[in-house]
Symmetry: C2
Subunit: 407 residues, 2 copies
Amino acid sequence: MEIIKGGITVPQGFEAAACEAGIKYQDRLDMALIYSKKPCRAAGVFTQNVVKAAPVLWDMEIINSRKKPQAVVINAGTANACTGAAGLRCCQETALLAAETMKMDADSVLVASTGVIGMEMPIDKMQTGIRMMAVSKNDSFDTGTEAARAIMTTDTREKEIAVQVEIDGKIVTVGGMAKGSGMIHPNMCTMLAFLTSDVLISKKMLQHILETDVEETYNMISVDGDTSTNDTVLFLANGMAGNKKLKAGTEDYTAFIAAVRTVNEYLAKAIAADGEGATALFEVTVKGSKTKEKAKTLAKSVVTSSLTKAAIAGHDANWGRFMCALGYSGEVFEPSRVDLFIESAAGKLQLVGNGMAVDYSEEKATEILKEAEVTLLADMKEGVEWATAWGCDLTHGYIDINADYRS
Amino acid sequence: MEIIKGGITVPQGFEAAACEAGIKYQDRLDMALIYSKKPCRAAGVFTQNVVKAAPVLWDMEIINSRKKPQAVVINAGTANACTGAAGLRCCQETALLAAETMKMDADSVLVASTGVIGMEMPIDKMQTGIRMMAVSKNDSFDTGTEAARAIMTTDTREKEIAVQVEIDGKIVTVGGMAKGSGMIHPNMCTMLAFLTSDVLISKKMLQHILETDVEETYNMISVDGDTSTNDTVLFLANGMAGNKKLKAGTEDYTAFIAAVRTVNEYLAKAIAADGEGATALFEVTVKGSKTKEKAKTLAKSVVTSSLTKAAIAGHDANWGRFMCALGYSGEVFEPSRVDLFIESAAGKLQLVGNGMAVDYSEEKATEILKEAEVTLLADMKEGVEWATAWGCDLTHGYIDINADYRS
């Protein structure tokens, strides 16, 4: 497997476009288009929030059908959530126009929105945007990157990646882009992620691979514990790589899964590191657990804690907060067995042995925690299972962004 | 029922003391003593965190026995959590010395600690503190207030209350004090609360009343979602009011329960309003729910959301975040039925009708949200049950306090 330049436009037959539609933001890209020259097998994973945005409802229906999508239209600025019948009408009109303009079936257009909940959708601006993008779409690296930039809200940088693997003697590419930096929490976040691939694969297998992988990647990140109304991961595969259809249990299958994991883990970590106001990526690995599920719950509990996140912001090895967050996770364990370590580019240090402080240097601890990527390692010493969760520190920046986001 | 001046020293036979023991803080009160002239029926509710501080383990054993406590020794600055065998030894030595000095049984002394986890306990300083307090204890209003001040950590003000009711023709008083402003979350918080009363009541009934009431008061507040290792509520009743022993189902019983509720609700709200960095008390009432449990879960979900808390800090009527937090609570409901209102001393305003924005004045909304106590009212329109949760806004102050709390 090789990580290569680019994002969603790298797999064969995929094009992208972005434009300034002025939906809410001014003077910046705020709409994006993903387009495949051929109809795709498509998979999707969506928010578990009871309050689902209109585009989520629209996409769920398509993904759960036998339809073969060919395009995704995305806008940033407005979420199209809590918008009632008008919101669903907006999805429909968006899809109809995109289909008409680009000569596809009306039900082969997926949609996604991110931004303020409850704002009316300016359908006329969206229609202008679609017409512009239908003309400008192409398969260059640049439009891929522009699309990744267009879907940002409070993100500070675009997030994209592409990887290649050999499958059945052919080069298969998986590309991806994502956005999301607030309302980010396990069980799908205010995050959108879009994967493209030229692999030939059944719809059922694509859905299975995506669902399984989301559990270990996007569902293991947290910025603020808020699960959004709009969370969506879509995966389009157009089969243009020329491989024989992927079969479960083969080496090719394993290679493809590894490629998907690389893309999703990269994007998930990029989202966590770009969490609202974040200055550090905070990785929590729990090992020595009896079960994988338990390790996940423990890791998520620490990465979600406001107090541990604030301690990371302060470069403060306040390990009592780590122990405390493990303790209220809902999982039962023996506190007097737990070992804790911190690690970063500046080194590794044990803080706790058998549930109590070891004699460590606070200076060294601070040095380690000052890095842009820091890891907490908790060894429960009761088994062999492990899991990793990703989050970020909690800083003044988060408050600045969220105390008055709408204005 | 009448709310009167004072706190834990108002019920007959109760005394208090406070001193500067220099355990971690310097030049401030950091130890408190509650003392009853007669042995008490005692009830307790403790943290559900798997990692339990030594004083919690100590108290649980006493509360679960037939022992009749007569005193509580409390310190602020160090939590005596993750301190292993040495931590338990510290509880024992504290209790032994207090018992010896004040001529009680060794196992009639409860202990409580709050502060940094994992720090060694300076037992010599605690012993000096106990000796000072054994001499200075008295039943004045002032020592009650000083005790309430001594148990503070990042709290900005002491929290105490006393109420009186007539039971069996006698005046019965319930007094209380509490601390806690960070690591505060439903399921008992880094909070300590101590109630005293001169009522004559069975131990079993006292425990039942306390447990039931905690569910509706302390367990309905949240500052930051972190459940601490040290959460403790203790209730001592010495029977000195002279009433006949309280019987279930009587008017007296109802009156006493109301008094306890008043004390606990007052202290719980005071803790929420004094949340770390808080500038506003944020009250969330969910009504029209099918069940009480569901209303509680929904209310807690909103009051715990970092995004709604940041919106309150910004006086921003970002109702999409309220809807979103209801939606990810885990409870199922029909979003298109929900009505949302905000209310404060500045007025009441409907934001959402049947799941969508109504036409309201943003200026009026901001005016309402600028008050020191603001309420969100969510009407689910599916039943008649309701519940209230309390929290606070999320501000720069929280980050300032927690990015480097230990130093």
